[in-house]
């Protein structure tokens, strides 16, 4: 018991915050509930053909870093999921990016695309999950005012887990991460 209260203190009373974690499913659009705070959105490509969609709504154009993480495991070395922000007012993607998108761009929409091609592939230690991940490398983007979408797909149709890191202002706590710890922490 003497050792329990410090743990509880850390879980409930420390200022240590985290990205708000959530689990994505390819068959359902996920609406980001608090786009002004940072999120860690985890999912898994079971077939490699999935297209994950996250809806984001901002009252003004909003700058945020975005990156995609993959568990640092040998069998996922070639697993490089890509991400895109898709919405009105964004620039036109280049030809390679346009060809790689998992769906046609809606009329009047542009996209900021990261095909996760940084080489050598950076590795980070994620301090909440206490795990190493490959990262696409964070990219600062400005999301449009109003509604936009984050698309996540696997250009090489590889299978495996991923986590999309979005934003900076941490608003989650360790308890949220514990809810699906076995999935998040590979």
């Amino acid at each position: 018991m003497r050792r329990t209260w410090p743990l509880l203190l850390i879980l409930f009373a420390t200022p240590a915050l985290t990205h708000v974690p959530a689990r994505l499913h390819a068959d359902a659009v996920y609406v980001l509930p608090r786009p002004e705070v940072s999120s860690a959105l985890f999912g898994e490509f079971l077939t490699g053909a999935e297209h994950f969609v996250v809806k984001v709504t901002h009252a003004t154009r909003f700058g945020a870093p975005i990156e995609i993480l993959v568990p640092h495991q040998a069998d996922l070395f070639t697993h490089r999921p890509a991400w895109a922000v898709v919405g009105p007012g964004l620039p036109a993607p280049n030809a390679e990016e346009l060809a790689a998108l998992p769906a046609p761009l809606p009329a009047g929409f542009g996209a900021v695309v990261d095909l996760n091609q940084v080489d050598p592939r950076p590795v980070i230690f994620e301090s909440v999950m206490r795990r190493f991940y490959w990262t696409s490398g964070p990219l600062a983007v400005v999301l449009p005012k109003g509604e936009s979408e984050l698309w996540i797909w696997s250009p090489g149709h590889t299978r495996g887990k991923f986590g999309l890191g979005y934003g900076v202002e941490e608003g989650g706590g360790y308890m949220a991460a514990l809810q699906e710890w076995s999935f998040y922490a590979y």
Binding site: R3, P6, L7, I10, T14, P15, A16, H58, T60, R61, F62, G63, A64, P65, I66, E67, P91, N94, S127, V128, R130, G137, P138, L139, A140, V141, V142, K145, G165, G167, V168, E169, E170
Partner: protein
Amino acid sequence: MRFIVLLVTALGVAGCWGDPVSQSSGCHAWVACIRALDDVADAGEPANLDRFVEGGFCWNNPSLAEGCISACDRGLARLRERNDVLPEGCKP
């Protein structure tokens, strides 16, 4: 007591806490470039870039700063690469 000290130290090492750091030159330049492009495009309402500016959330601790620095550096490189006509605020 030793257990508490150990836990607090572990959390500190994990990057949950840490001294604030200064805004990076790369984030300063990325913010300036976004503002300059907005001026050229007459974008109207300025984008919310609060986290990247001096004193913003990016600079609350070294762990957050590391991610923001990389994000700004890549973002700035992409802006310079993909805009045919660069305003003064975007030039190196």
